[in-house]
């Protein structure tokens, strides 16, 4: 049973890679979109849309790291 549990944890980690795509699309889409709107409003085309896309990417990678990267580090720090 213990063996079974270990294997399924590995499987879930593999499978979660597929959900990452949605975040990587959402980030640039949302903040790039907001940047585009702000550009039109402030007349700063194309700077804010660029900042938004790059910032959105960074944020998306951060979410992925927090959500899925943290699993490996949790057991050692559980005692603290």
């Amino acid at each position: 049973m213990d063996d079974d549990a270990h294997r399924s944890v590995g499987r879930v980690d593999d499978a979660e890679a597929w959900t990452v795509l949605a975040y990587l699309i959402s980030g640039p889409l949302l903040y790039g979109g907001l940047g585009w709107l702000a550009d039109r409003w402030l007349g700063t085309t194309p700077w804010l849309v660029l900042v938004g896309i790059v910032g959105g990417m960074v944020l998306a990678v951060y979410v992925v790291w927090v959500r899925y990267g943290a699993h490996d580090r949790r057991p050692p720090s559980a005692s603290s």
Binding site: V12, W18, T19, V66, A70
Partner: protein, 261 residues
């Protein structure tokens, strides 16, 4: 297929027109090839599952064995491993039905007299995705309450000021990007695969039989070989896409249920 080839005007590459095939009637209420294939798949799956499970033997015969293999794949490798052994059985019927439906409809893309992947019409993936969409939100709201569900979307251990820019991202992901990518992934793979096969097959047919240029015939044979290779590749893609669809469905349900706090 040969209707695509204008005999005197040379070769006409397949376009998106090949996906719109009304059989009865016309316009938006037409009975299309895709809907007939879908109905056919439901009848076929229903018959197969009833036939192979009516007399359940402890030592299964061959057809019961195949059904159990597919059921086992969805039940154990997808539902149990991802949703967890506590709650997975609730979702197995839905996941299994979806997997078999998508798999059979995808495989119809290469099965000889049918040769039309239903999921290459976007309406079918959208309908399936709506079921998934309603399910994982309903499951999450039932578990955590409406406010709790939104709170649940935020991963733990994020500093306060980041939450302000992170929460909109999570909202967009949960309510927009997830369903859109789920539907588009299935649709796009089936659409592109079908158009590729039609291109190689009709292209080969034109080069070998209709072009009238002797030097084109070897090229046409290469095109036919490519059609064969791509057909094998398509079978892999068709299986993989059915699997990924239910895998993601299970992951989204698991995400709505999981206790991360």
């Amino acid at each position: 297929m040969s209707a695509l080839l204008a005999a005197s005007d040379g070769y006409e590459a397949p376009s998106t027109d090949i996906f719109w095939q009304p059989l009865i009637g016309s316009g938006q209420w037409a009975v299309t090839r895709a809907s007939v294939v879908m109905v056919l798949s439901v009848i076929g799956i229903g018959w197969w599952l009833l036939a192979t499970t009516r007399r359940k033997a402890v030592v299964p015969n061959r057809s019961q064995f195949y059904t159990e293999q597919i059921y086992g794949l969805v039940r154990n490798s997808v539902a149990r491993d991802i949703i967890g052994s506590q709650e997975f059985m609730t979702f197995v019927p839905m996941l299994f039905a979806m997997f078999v439906l998508i798999l059979v409809n995808n495989l119809f893309g290469v099965i000889a007299p049918i040769q039309f992947p239903t999921m290459s019409r976007i309406g079918f993936p959208i309908a399936l995705t709506l079921v998934v969409y309603v399910t994982y939100h309903a499951v999450g709201i039932r578990r955590w309450g409406l406010g709790g569900y939104f709170k649940h979307m935020i991963p733990p251990g994020v500093p306060g000021w980041v939450l302000v820019i992170l929460f909109p991202l999570e909202l967009l992901t949960y309510f927009f990007t997830r369903p859109v990518t789920l539907a588009l992934r299935l649709f796009g793979n089936m659409f592109a695969g079908h158009i590729l096969l039609v291109l190689f097959i009709t292209g080969g047919e034109y080069l070998v039989f209709s072009s009238g240029v002797l030097a084109y015939i070897p090229l046409g044979i290469i095109s036919y070989i490519m059609a064969f290779v791509m057909t094998l590749f398509e079978i892999l893609v068709e299986f993989l896409q059915a699997y990924i669809f239910v895998l993601l469905t299970a992951l989204y349900i698991a995400g709505s249920l999981a206790d991360e706090h």
